[in-house]
Symmetry: C2
């Protein structure tokens, strides 16, 4: 079986590279989960459990306070950018930023930090980059909520070394336009569903996204088409066109508020919400959150991408995002991470969590 | 092997039903071609040749004048409307109108009219409903032009029993919009190619199609989206969207004119012409055309749909459209043909072509 050497696990940069080189597009995480599980079990000081492609590793030192570190194992589809490539201080490749450099920090600490200041919980999970219902942490939060129990959680999503508070919600909806099929040579006998979708696209192009400041953090919303499909044949007026949109909303809107807003934007059109996940308010007043922010020594800012901090928040666990990747590079073909930020992140976490 | 009984071939209505029940979506005509070939060879008075899924059957009576009857064997995709269903005077099903009722007239005459007034050429061919380069008559017109030799041709496309002159041209083009991928949570870092396609859809919705009268026949143009596709993943700003349009143009425009017009309509956008076929002017001044129109006893009108009369016209053979189907029902889920029009068509052709 494929394993990570002790030297690889001991070096968070080499560990990042090794994780990137194990392709793990959402839905295909079996192999990377096997490798991470073997490394965790090899450490000796951790109680390890597995459920599907979700891994839990805990110290059981009776320290009275428990911190959770969590990271997902999957990536968006490969875009000709695996294996990882190092050029000077930069590592390029799918997942380098989102979020194998962060996941590597958690795995590195899990295996090498045997004597921590707080009891620690590590969670590694699958299917974060696709629809919420398949998300491994979502599943576990329903079936094994005790796995998430902690006083405070850090999700190692890319933040470029900043502390990012809360997160925006995300909602996907399909806008379906219909028409009447006809032969394209006599188009006036039909009604073109693709032309009708132009109305929805016009609304998207005119849409002015809101910006809102909460606890000093500015959230910036966005409403975008992510897929469109319509057409029957090259000589047929199409009778259906489906436009999928993704709405990213600030955490002052609930999912119900977000849906109402979408329905207002697309008033008169056929809207079906297909997927959603709530945001999380920044919660910076919480003492545990404040302690971590103080330890990093930099002010928190808003997390724009949806992250699973929302699942910890829903379980009553204050949570922040902190990771070495640059969120602006996530999901891009030229995704990359600055290697010094991996080392800085590992050192900062070890300083805070070690004795 | 599957065959048509003599009784079926002798009854153009039963023959229509039998042909509809042999599914023959474009690209899948082997089976129907086998059946039609066997019927033609069984007639005895015809010289039959086959090239792929194109069939030629000719009388060789030395009558000095030759008339061609042509029909395609394929249909658009089945829409839960096969096998054929007869309800009173109406036969429902895919291809009943376009154009198995017309093709049945040609096959019925080919087998049963052994002693015609003119020498006759029958052509049955494949792939008419898809891109022009796969069209069987197009292929044959290049590789075996002698098969199309005639003094006059009738294409049995649906005209609802009217004589329809010439045909409109058709051109397909792809309009590609591009953008920049980004995570949907930070959409302002990308550029949305689907939103950009809204501009092209707006132009289509604003487009005012031209009407033009030639030789007393009114042609009516149309410009329509027939397919749209874009999107990478549910959380990615898409970097490409492709919109396919179909332009139906009056025969006073050449293909070059039509392309120039498309490029003007979509000025500033990335336009690629993917497929085109010229129109055919009505040519009603030609004596052979006039003779047929007089025999039917009704004035000719414009053919709006593109038909392979353009291929006969390009080969110097005057050609008209005449068939029992209703062109307004072609390619629709509720496609159907009025049974009396099949019988009227068979009788009219037999009157004109018989002795």
């Amino acid at each position: 079986m494929e394993t990570l050497s002790a030297a690889t696990v001991a070096d968070p940069v080499e560990l990042t590279r090794a994780l990137v080189d194990i392709e793990s597009v959402s839905g295909d995480e079996e192999r990377i989960t096997d490798v991470v599980e073997a490394a965790l079990r090899g450490a000796g000081h951790l109680a390890v459990e597995r459920d599907g492609n979700v891994l839990l590793a805990r110290t059981e030192l009776g320290l009275g306070k428990r911190v959770a570190l969590a990271g997902h194992l999957d990536t968006v589809p490969i875009a000709d950018n695996v294996p990882a490539r190092i050029d000077g201080d930069v590592m390029w490749g799918c997942g380098t930023s989102d979020m194998k450099s962060g996941t590597a920090l958690a795995l590195h600490l899990a295996v090498t930090l045997a004597d921590p200041r707080y009891d620690l919980t590590y969670v590694f999970y699958d299917c974060e980059e696709i629809e919420a219902e398949r998300n491994g942490l979502n599943r576990i939060s329903r079936t094994r909520p005790e796995w998430l129990a902690a006083d405070f959680a850090i999700l190692l999503e890319p933040t470029y070394g900043e502390v990012e508070a809360g997160c925006q919600g995300t909602m996907r909806a399909s806008i379906t336009t219909t028409g009447v099929r006809a032969h394209a040579a006599r188009s006036w006998l039909g009604s073109n569903a693709i032309h009708a979708a132009g109305d929805a696209l016009d609304r998207l192009r005119r849409y002015e996204a809101r910006r809102v400041t909460i606890d000093g953090c500015e959230y910036r919303e966005g409403l975008n088409a992510v897929r469109i499909a319509g057409g029957v044949a090259g000589n047929v007026i199409p009778d259906e066109c489906v436009l999928d949109v993704n709405f990213r909303f600030a955490p002052d809107r609930s999912e119900a508020d977000a849906e109402a807003h979408l329905r207002e934007v697309f008033d008169g059109l056929d809207v079906t919400v297909t997927d959603s996940a709530p945001g999380a308010l920044p919660g910076l007043a919480d003492p545990a959150a404040a302690e971590f922010v103080a330890a990093i020594g930099r002010p928190a800012r808003a997390k724009l991408g949806w992250t699973d901090v929302a699942r910890f928040a829903a379980a009553g666990v204050p949570a922040l995002n902190y990771g070495p990747g640059d969120p602006n590079l996530a999901h891009k073909k030229d995704e990359r991470v600055e290697i010094p930020r991996i080392r800085t992140g590992a050192a900062a976490l070890r300083r805070w969590l070690g004795r």
